[in-house]
Symmetry: C2
Subunit: 301 residues, 2 copies
């Protein structure tokens, strides 16, 4: 068995495939646009075949929703995505059979959470949240050392948060819920509300305190629901450097001393943090899923 | 070692102590008002001593907040409660030393969740929420077969939910957060808003659709955050029989087809359910904590 892993960061816009064993050892990498399942998965399979590396397993961190129920006939499939052609795609079956390797499979955010747990900002923890704020808002993480699954998997972007329409009349852009968290605070919502891209909004723009307010409301809800030991905030919208300090301050204001943990009351800089794995977090998450799949197989063998 | 367990349902208003092994086998039970820690815990210790039963362990399902971190010097203590005299009480140490027995310890809601998992509405599940709506609102449950802990423990009653002050100008009664979920929807909030006790509100009163709306918003947030396989709704406020069906309907409306699980879309009567253990749920939760403590000790021995 090889000691290298293949990782597929299966995004709705781009796929990233890489071979390596961790953040200091990514040997090959390729990125391309997501088109049809046939073509897009075919390119991934061709990449791993052509590299001729001795891989122990493949990990796939995918956009969803996904069927993650190992006892389901549709395990490893993408389920009800509106993305044309992808609903019902057996992504694990197709990749696993073509390459003859065990496959670790989870959501993109749970993959990223596992990567941060192995190598990054969640080392040594067992209960934490990973939230990404970008084109959409997605969340995953661990509770008591297990990646968060359940009936399906978390859809943290779709929680409802208070929305003062007098202060912010923007109705939200979620096609299902209007002003859920994602509808109010994802990148495209910022762009629609302010009529300019989030990257072009200056750091002192009124967009940022409002964005911090909505994200802080969401974090307060995750804190009260899960009691995480840390929250990792990633995604394109978080690239505005003034945002993270504003979120930390607003979380403390909103909790108002109710959760009397020094981690929140005194050391919030270590409690709400950026990802440690930077731009490789996605594909490293996939590699972490592969490593875990190989370990699970070794344990069963 | 005995095959019987002692359970202490440590409530802020009343303590219930019982000896038994499960829902069909509660042999002795006593209930009394919560006064000082000294007197209240003393009565519990006296009860178990006087019954002279051959107990394997004691379980304590307690009001909080609690220190549940087994590596903390304050493990087993009640932490920052405003309840006079109780902050810092070493409830596990005092009871365990007096009786010379292993002690299982958790929040009242995690205790109730464990009881429902062993004997009630959560049998066969591994990820579920138990929410109680009464004098306060509290939540617990399991993720991947583990009771929900973390930095501290969940405080689900304190999540923020949308509050339309035009439709409901009531400001909420939470001393920390005003209109958090508990501030808007616990029993005392109902009483303050409508100026009559929840029990006296007729089933066709406008209070109930509004209550269903707030609780449904909270459940939607728990569904999106945790993806539970079931939600159990207990507590005094839930005794109004029209409330549960209204909550189910409103959860489906709010999710609007986003989580395409048949359990939610088609079988919501089995997804949002009352506790199966009825009035004994609290002390049976404590007995379940005792049983688990005994099993853990046997495993380590």
């Amino acid at each position: 068995m090889g000691t290298l892993f293949g990782g597929i960061e299966a995004g709705g816009t781009n796929f990233v495939c890489a071979i390596g064993s961790g953040p200091d050892d990514i040997r090959q990498e390729t990125e391309y646009s997501t088109t049809t399942p046939e073509e897009t998965l075919g390119r991934a399979i061709d990449f791993f075949r052509s590299e001729d590396a001795d891989l122990a397993a493949i990990g796939i961190a995918s956009f969803g929703p996904l069927d993650l129920d190992i006892s389901s006939p549709a395990y490893g499939h993408i389920s009800s995505t509106p993305k044309p052609g992808w609903a019902g795609t057996d992504i694990v079956g197709r990749v696993g059979q073509a390459l003859g390797l065990p496959v670790g499979f989870d959501t993109d955010v749970n993959g990223a959470a596992l990567g941060e747990y192995r190598w990054g900002a969640a080392r040594g923890l067992d209960t934490f949240v990973y939230l990404t704020v970008g084109t959409g808002i997605g969340g995953g993480g661990m509770v008591a050392g297990r990646l968060m699954h359940g009936l399906v998997h978390p859809e943290m972007g779709h929680i409802r948060v208070p929305h003062d329409r007098a202060a912010d009349p923007f109705p939200g852009i979620c096609p299902f819920h209007g002003d859920c968290l994602e509808g109010l605070a994802c990148g495209p919502a910022l762009e629609a509300r302010w009529e300019q891209s989030p990257e072009s909004l200056p750091g002192d723009h009124a967009a940022w305190p409002l964005e911090a307010h909505y994200l802080a409301l969401a974090l307060v809800n995750f804190i009260c629901t899960l009691s995480p030991q840390r929250i990792i905030l990633g995604g394109g919208v978080m690239k505005e450097p003034r945002l993270l300090p504003m979120i930390r301050e607003r979380v403390q204001e909103l909790l108002n001393g109710y959760v009397q943990a020094p981690e929140i009351m005194e050391e919030i800089e270590d409690f709400i943090v950026p990802p440690a794995l930077g731009d490789h977090a996605g594909v490293l998450g996939a590699i972490a899923l592969a490593a875990r799949a190989a370990e699970n197989q070794a344990r069963q063998a």
